[in-house]
Structure formats: C-alpha cells, structure tokens
C-alpha cells in the first residue's frame, strides 16, 4: 500500500501507522477515556474505603497509591489529553488546514503519551507505585519511599513531558503558520484560540515539571541531595512544582472554556458577548498564572511580604475569570436556547465552575488558607474547577463534535440521562466535601462525626461514575445505529461544520478562505497536489515504544535498557531518513511569522522550552546557594581552568559551526565537511575535558551525594553535558549525510537548525561557567 493512502479504519495497521490528525484525535480520545476509567476506578476504590470512618478495604499503603495515581492520571493523562483529542480533531478543521504542521510529530506525541501512561500503569506491579500524593511533596518522595515502582511512575511522568513538548511545538507552529487565507488570529474560533493560549502556557510550565522530575529522579537513583538536604528540600520542590502546577490548572481549564464558548454560540443563536474582553481576560490569566504559585505555600514560612503579594495576585486572578464567566452568561440574553446535550453539559459546567471559582477566592486569602489548607475544602474546590469546570466542559465537547467525527447522531435521550445523573452525582460527591472542611486530605480513616458527609460523597461518586457508563453505551451504540448526522446538525457557524461528517482525509474539497467575513471555497486547483503527501509512518510508534523500553529497563534489568537503546537509535535513524512528504499550505495567514518557516519556528519554540528547563535548574542552584551559608569560595572545589578551557572549546565550536554553514551555502563540500568535523572534534574535546574534571573530583571523594554543592554542580553540568552529547550524535548523523554529498548549496537550512541548538547549548554554558566556577 502506498504511504499516502490511508488503510481502511478496520485495519490495525491504519491505527499504528497513521499520522492523520483526525485519526490521532480519535486515538487520543479513546486512550483518554481508558485512563478516565482507570482513574475513576481508583477513586471508587478509595470512596469505598471512606464509606465508613474505620474500614480497612484499602490499607494505608494501597490507599496512598490509589489517591496518588488517581490524581496524576486524572490531571495529566485524562483531562489534558481529552482536550488535545478534541484539539487534534478540530483545530485543523477550524483554521482550514489539511493537517497539523508536523503530522509525524503529532503521532509521536500520541504514542509517547500512551507509553508514558503504560509505564505508570506498570509501576503498580513493581512492589509499590508513587504513594506520595500527586504533588510529590519532598523530602517524602525523594528519600522516604524506596520502592522501584515509584521510579517507574516518575519516569512515566518524564516521558509524558516529552509528549507534551512535542505536541506544544506542533500546535504553536500549526496555529501560526497553517491558517487558511483570511483566517487572521482575531478570526479564530474560541476553541482554537484557547488551545493556542494553552500550548503557550504548556511551553513554559512543563519544562519546569521536567526539571523537577530530573532532579527528583537523580536524588532517588544517583543519590544527589536536592530534596533530601535542608538547603533544598521541601521548599525548593514547592517552588518548582507549583511554578508548573498552577499554570497547569489553567492548562487543563482553558480548552474547556473554549469548547463551552463555541457551544454557547451555537445553541443560543447569538454571537459571543464580549469576545474581545474574554480574550483579553484569558491573556491576563495566562500571564498571571505564572505569578500565583506561592499561594500553595502560604504556610511554609516564606517571607510575609511575598505571601501578601501572592494573595493579591491570586485573588486578583479571579477578576478576569469573572469577566469570562459573566460574558458567557450575558451571551444568553435575548437568545434562543436549544437545550441539547452539549448545551446542557456546558450550562452545568458553568454553574459548577462558578462554585469552584468562588471557593478559590477563600483559599487565596492567606488567613483562611491557614485553616483550610490540607483539608477536604481544597479537595472540593479543585474538583469543582478541574472535574466540574474542565472535565464536564470537555464532555460537552465530546458530545458536540461526536456527529462530526462519526457522521452519526447519539441518542439525545441518553445524553440527557447522562447529564442529569452526572449533575446529581457530581454535586452529591463533591459538595459534602466543602462541609467536611475539618477533615484532612489523603487519610484512609477519619473522625466519627464526618461519616454522614463521607457516605453522601461515596454514594455520589458511584452515581457520577455510573453516569459515564450511559455515555459510553450511547456513543458506542450510536456509532452504528445513530441517525446520519449530516454536515451541520447543530446549525453551527464555525468552519469544521462546512465539510462532510466525518470529513474526508484532506478535510475540505477546495481551499477554504475567509473573504468579507464569510468562508468560501476556492477551486481545488491541483487536487492531485496533496495526494502525494505521506500519511503513514511506523517510526513514531517505534520511537515511543523504544523510549518506554529504555526507561522500563532502568527500573528492571539494565540489559532491557540496552536493547531499548538499540531500538531507539534505529527508530531515530528511521525517522530521520524516511521520505515523509507534508506540504505547508501555499496560501494562508501567518502573522506574525510570515518570514519564519515552519521548521525554524519549531526550533525556536523548542528552544523556548529548553530555556525554561535550564532556567529552573539554574534558579534551583541560586536558591540552594543562597540557603547555604558555607558555600566554598571560587577555585577551591571546582577547578577554574577546566571550566575556562571548556568555555573556550565550546565558543570555538560555535564559530566552526558558523563557518560550516557558510561553506555549505557557498557550495564548498570540503569546507562543510571540514568545519563540521572541527565542530565535532571540539565537542568531543569538551566532553573529554569534562570527563577528566569529573574523575578528578570523584578521586578526591567529591561525588553526587557529598553535599548540595556537589549535587547542583554535577546535575546542572550533567544535564548540559547530556545536551552536548545529544548534539554530537546529531552532528555525527549530519556528517554522515554530508559525506554522501548533502547540504552543499541545497539543504543548508538543516545545518542552520542544528546551529540554533548548538549555539543555545553554548549560551547555557556561558551562564554555567561564571555561576559555578567564578563567583
């Protein structure tokens, strides 16, 4: 079969190899629902434990694992992926694109997500998985839970951040570069708009999580002391985790707000109220979200003035949300509301989110948080926002786009039954938790007087969980037996409804263009043009599988890891060498990146995430250093000469790389090869010098776990060294291609993209050298 033809939906091959955004959307959807069942089943288990004050259904060890994995799975493997299931399917349709900018990378994000989830599930069967709460508080997670499964689960989270980063880059480039003619940023439907804001937040939040996980894994495996020493410890983790964690709340929520906004317009038959104010409010929230993390730390003894500042930012963030929600409600005035299932879920979600938002203001007040911290009030609040606002909002989206995805209508009656059961179950489950605010979180046993509230919650939990069975049945049954939906069953305005249900592989017949506020379709000139594009590749799957095998080997048998590494290398080579054709649309709106081609934009986006990764590592260094009164003077522990020589080597290597690119442009094969070779030699020299430096330190008894000083030195320079190593591997590949005559005159862009990375790694060293060696 030709790689540009998609096999039929009934073949397994189609689903393993597809790179089509709609297929990937379906894969995300099914996987997210699978994890919803996993996370939900865990929660029902501990709701059973809590049905009585002193049961022993789940002993404490099992209980702690259940709540931890429930939290992690729901936040990272259910709600966000569900949003990206919809985004995968809908965003290209809403902007009039044929696919995402990088279809193979899109498949890669999905498979990395799936295999990351599998690692987390596998960790259950390795003695004990993560049992420290989804917030992974320290030093409990670093030093007090010595089980292999904890490592596996942690590595699973690390792999997930890779998936998220890849998908972030893809959506940024797609939304900026693949819009149909006339679709200016201001004309984006709300859902696509919220996805854009979401990926921008993800770009800065997830590398912080990755940095935290790298430090945590290093503490657990290599014996560094970031979180087990008092200079770093609990507070350092709190800063890193919540710098990620609070934006994560909005990352989870924003796509749901976008879904709800689109649905409100469709079913109320009125334009959105204050669209521009909603967007402004969302931009404010996205920015402020990186400035509120301290409210998770009011009691940790951070400086009183800093606490006050965080109170102001936290309570202030409720104002833009006010504007958003009130605009949603004002949209309804003088409207004509069709109360179909998606609209019902949207209205339910808004009502629930109002309660979640108001109770969030309680927690933003330090003086109340002093008392409510660590209690069921917090549990109730974030379920009202994340389960009620985000998950229920996204469920509305699943119903809304189901006819588009399948070409069939679901049963409206069953949809309404699901809605009623879900609302009753949800409120019965979570509202009593506000009233049980005296009860500590994460305890398997509790005081007698709290029994009635907990029993209500348990009953509610089973109703809420059970309501989803109605949905699953409805969606599965309607797949075959639903009424044919037609192109636009909801009479909705956005572009995805102007094509067939389900849309053809190339999405639209003809090129959509927005002219004078209305979409028209330009004649499909060169209809044969995109049929040459590739839609199948085995490498995303193989690469992700190999990554999982490598990580799994680390916690089982190292031989498995080595095997995995071979597979990984083969997959990366296969990926790089595959002739995969996907064209950027020839016409379109690309502001503000008209002059930045998609690869360049992708590299810039990737490097932005790398800046955060190193930013967190260096901030951690500055933090622990300021907490350590007896930091050794420069030159006493780390040899300045080693550092200076390496600085010289790396800067020179940047220079030789620039010369290689110049030679490639001028068409000099010898020059290209020579300067690439010189860059390679310098990179190797850097690593050899570093090896010498490290062995010298080891021989003087300075190792990973000696002190916080050695910990921060080895890990920061180690992560940098790993980047140099990755760069050298890429360079080796480039040289092997250049030997066969590549990059002369044509294709020098590839060298330039590599150059961005290499120069970036050098610049990082320019920060590391003075910070660690000179001051």
């Amino acid at each position: 079969m030709e790689a540009h033809m998609l096999p039929p939906a009934s073949s397994i091959k189609r689903w393993l190899l597809t790179t089509n955004h709609k297929d990937i959307g379906i894969l995300y959807l099914v996987t997210a629902i699978y994890f919803l069942v996993v996370g939900g089943a865990l929660s029902l288990l501990f709701r059973l434990q809590l049905a009585d004050p002193s049961l022993n259904v789940l002993p404490p060890q099992a209980y702690n694992q259940a709540i931890t994995i429930h939290g992690l799975v729901m936040v990272l493997f259910v709600v966000s992926p569900l949003a990206f299931a919809l985004a995968n399917y809908v965003v290209p349709l809403q902007i009039g694109a044929r696919d995402l900018a990088f279809p193979r990378l899109n498949a890669l994000s999905y498979w990395l997500y799936l295999f990351a989830g599998i690692l987390v599930v596998v960790s259950f069967f390795q003695e004990r998985t993560l049992d420290v709460g989804w917030t992974l508080y320290q030093p409990l997670a670093a030093g007090f839970t010595p089980y292999v499964g904890v490592n596996t689960g942690g590595l699973g989270l690390g792999l997930l951040t890779a998936s998220v980063t890849v998908s972030t880059i893809n959506f940024v480039v797609t939304i900026f570069r693949s819009r149909a003619p006339g679709v200016r940023l201001t004309a984006l439907p709300m859902f696509t708009m919220t996805i854009l804001l979401t990926v921008l937040m993800m770009l800065y939040a997830f590398p912080a999580l990755l940095a935290g996980i790298i430090m945590l894994a290093s503490d657990r495996v290599l014996g560094t002391v970031y979180f087990t020493s008092n200079q770093g410890g609990a507070i350092l983790w709190d800063h890193i985790f919540w710098f990620f964690g609070h934006p994560e709340v909005y990352i989870v929520l924003f796509p749901a707000l976008g879904v709800m906004a689109d649905i409100l317009v469709t079913f109320s038959r009125r334009p959105l109220f204050g669209r521009r104010y909603i967007l402004a409010a969302m931009v404010i929230v996205a920015t402020l979200s990186f400035l509120v993390w301290g409210h998770h730390m009011f009691l940790t003894g951070i400086h009183p003035d800093i606490r006050r500042a965080f109170t102001v930012t936290t309570i202030a963030i409720s104002l833009p949300f006010d504007a958003i929600i009130l605009s949603f409600i004002y949209t309804l005035s003088k409207s004509k509301i069709h109360l179909r299932t998606p609209m019902l879920f949207t209205l339910g979600s808004i009502a629930i989110f109002i309660i979640g938002g108001i109770t969030g203001v309680f927690l933003g007040s330090i003086a109340l948080d002093y008392v409510l911290r660590g209690t069921y009030f917090v549990v109730a609040h974030f379920h009202y926002t994340m389960a009620g606002g985000a998950l229920v909002g996204l469920i509305a989206g699943v119903y809304y786009w189901y006819p588009k995805m399948t070409g069939r209508m679901f049963s409206e009656a069953l949809g309404r039954i699901h809605f009623v059961l879900a609302m009753i179950g949800f409120n019965l489950l979570y509202f009593p938790m506000f009233l049980a605010w005296e009860m500590p979180r994460r305890v398997p046993v509790y005081a007698e007087y709290l029994a009635p509230l907990n029993q209500l919650a348990t009953v509610g939990g089973f109703i809420f969980g059970g309501s989803f069975l109605v949905m699953f049945w409805n969606l599965l049954y309607s797949l075959r037996h639903g009424e044919p939906a037609g192109d636009n069953p909801w009479n909705a305005p956005t572009l995805e409804w102007l094509t067939r249900s389900p849309p053809p592989p190339h999405n639209f017949d003809g090129t959509p263009a927005l002219v004078d506020g209305r979409f028209t379709f330009l004649a499909a000139n060169g209809a044969g043009h995109h049929s040459h594009e590739t839609h199948l590749s085995p490498w995303p799957f193989m690469l992700s599988l190999a990554s999982m095998v490598v990580l799994l080997g680390l916690t089982t048998h190292i031989a498995i890891s080595l095997g995995g590494l071979v597979l990984l290398a083969a997959s990366i080579l296969g990926f790089a060498r595959e002739r995969f054709v996907s064209h950027e649309p020839q016409l379109g709106e690309r502001w503000p990146f008209e002059r930045v081609d998609r690869m360049k934009l992708a590299w810039w986006t990737f490097l932005a995430s790398e800046i955060v990764l190193f930013g967190v590592l260096l901030s951690a260094y500055i933090y622990v250093r300021s907490a350590t009164p007896s930091w050794p003077a420069p030159g006493t522990l780390f040899d300045i000469w080693h550092g200076a020589v390496n600085t010289f080597i790396l800067l020179t290597s940047s220079f030789t790389l620039v010369l290689a690119i110049a030679a490639s442009r001028m068409g000099s094969r010898a020059g290209t090869l020579g300067f690439l070779g010189a860059t390679m030699a310098l990179g190797v020299a850097f690593l050899l010098n570093k090896y010498g430096e490290w062995t010298e330190l080891f021989s003087h008894g300075v190792n990973f776990s000696t002190s916080i000083v050695s910990t921060s030195f080895f890990l920061t320079t180690g992560v940098h060294g790993a980047h140099v190593t990755a760069g050298l591997l890429a360079l080796a590949y480039l040289i092997s291609r250049a030997l066969k005559g590549a990059y002369v005159r044509e294709g020098h862009e590839t060298l330039e993209y590599f150059g961005y990375y290499w120069h970036f790694v050098d610049i990082v060293w320019v920060f590391i050298f003075p910070l660690f060696y000179l001051i």
């Binding site: 409720s318 305890v443 209305r518």
Partner: protein, 211 residues
C-alpha cells in the same frame, strides 16, 4: 470563643461565606433565569444577529454591562483582601509574652519540648488563657500540625522552624492531626493538646522531673 485563632477565623469565614453564598446564588440564579426565559419555544423568533454557518466570529460588545459587573466584583475582592490583611496583622504577630513550646514532627507522631527542657511524645499540656507560641519543625518529612478545633495550622518542614500562636480560652482536650501526606501512618498521626487551669498547670509543670 474557644481560642484567639478561632475568633480571627470566624470573622473572616463569616464574611467570605456570606459574600460567597450571596454571589454564588445571585449569579447561578441569573444563569438559570436567562436559560429559562430564553429557552427555545416554537413561537420565539430567531435572534436577528444569529450566527450563520460559515461566518467569521462576531461579538456582542456592550462593555458597559461587563465593566459594571467587574467593578462590582473588584470592590468585593478588595474588601476581602483588606480584611485578610487585617487578620494577618493578628495571626503573624504573636504577643511578646507567651508560653513557648517547640514541636518536632516525625513519622508518625509529635514530640514536644517545654521551656524547662521537659520532653513529651504525643501529649502537650498548656495553660488556659495564656498565649502559646509553637516553634514547629520536622525530623524527617513534610508534616503539618493542625488543631482544627482551634483553627490553627503550622507546617512542619525539616530544616525550617515555623511559628504559630494561639490563646485557648476553654478547658479541654483537642486533637492534633497531620494535614500533609507523610507516608503510611499519615491518617493516624495524632496527638493531644490538653488545656488546663493555670494553677493546675503550674503545679504540674513545676513538679516535672527534668533530667
């Protein structure tokens, strides 16, 4: 009132919950009212500006309505922040004269150190009506010392000493619980705070054999 911290909490809690419930009820009722009033009935005409398929997004922009609502919310929020800061003035400024106790949390229990050097595990005795200052830390992982009836919570973090205070005005026994997940024993990590008449307390305190 049972304790000074309870007074501070109750004031704020009453203010936040009454405003919270008021705002919640008003907004959700307004939402319900709009949905009810504008529900699709056959005789109801399609709105004039109804979005049509294939149309670029438009908006209803009447900033006035939104501005007024946001100003209203802002005034509520500013009230809440100010009240919070006033309460903090009390919570963050313990009186100079106080009975001082050092608390060390561990997996899974509480160790108390009295000013005279006496040490006890699981049970802390303090005099009624006297400000008590807690210096809280941990010897292993992150815990949180919470005496929920007294509306008092202090993080117990290894390598850090956090300070909190209260004045208990009612005799009795209060349960100390851990409010931060700290391992398998988290749910049963309890201790007791016993509040005694000052004379009785002094008698007990001076009879202690300190090694």
């Amino acid at each position: 009132m049972v304790a000074s911290t309870v007074e501070v909490f109750n004031t704020l809690w009453t203010l936040f919950s009454s405003l919270g419930i008021l705002v919640g009820v008003v907004v959700i009722s307004y939402l319900g009212y709009q949905v009810y009033r504008n529900r699709a009935r056959p005789e109801r005409p399609e709105p004039e500006d109804a979005p049509k398929p294939g149309e670029a997004p438009r908006e209803q922009a009447r900033a006035g309505k939104l501005l007024i609502s946001v100003i209203l919310s802002a005034s509520i929020v500013i009230t809440l922040i100010s009240m919070t800061f006033i309460s903090l003035g009390i919570l963050d400024n313990p009186p100079q004269e106080a009975f001082e106790v050092k608390v060390v949390a561990f997996q899974w229990g509480w160790r108390f150190y009295y000013p005279n050097g006496y040490e006890a595990v699981g049970e802390l005795r303090v005099p009624k009506g006297v400000p008590v200052k807690f210096y809280v830390t941990s010897s292993d992982v992150f815990h949180n010392m919470g005496i929920i009836e007294l509306r008092l919570k202090i993080d117990a973090i290894p390598g850090k000493v956090n300070v909190g205070w209260t004045r208990v005005d009612a005799l009795g026994e209060y349960i100390i619980r851990c409010y931060e997940l700290c391992g398998d024993g988290h749910g049963v990590m309890t201790g007791r705070l016993i509040v005694m008449e000052p004379e009785e307390f002094n008698e007990w305190y001076s009879s202690l054999q300190v090694s």
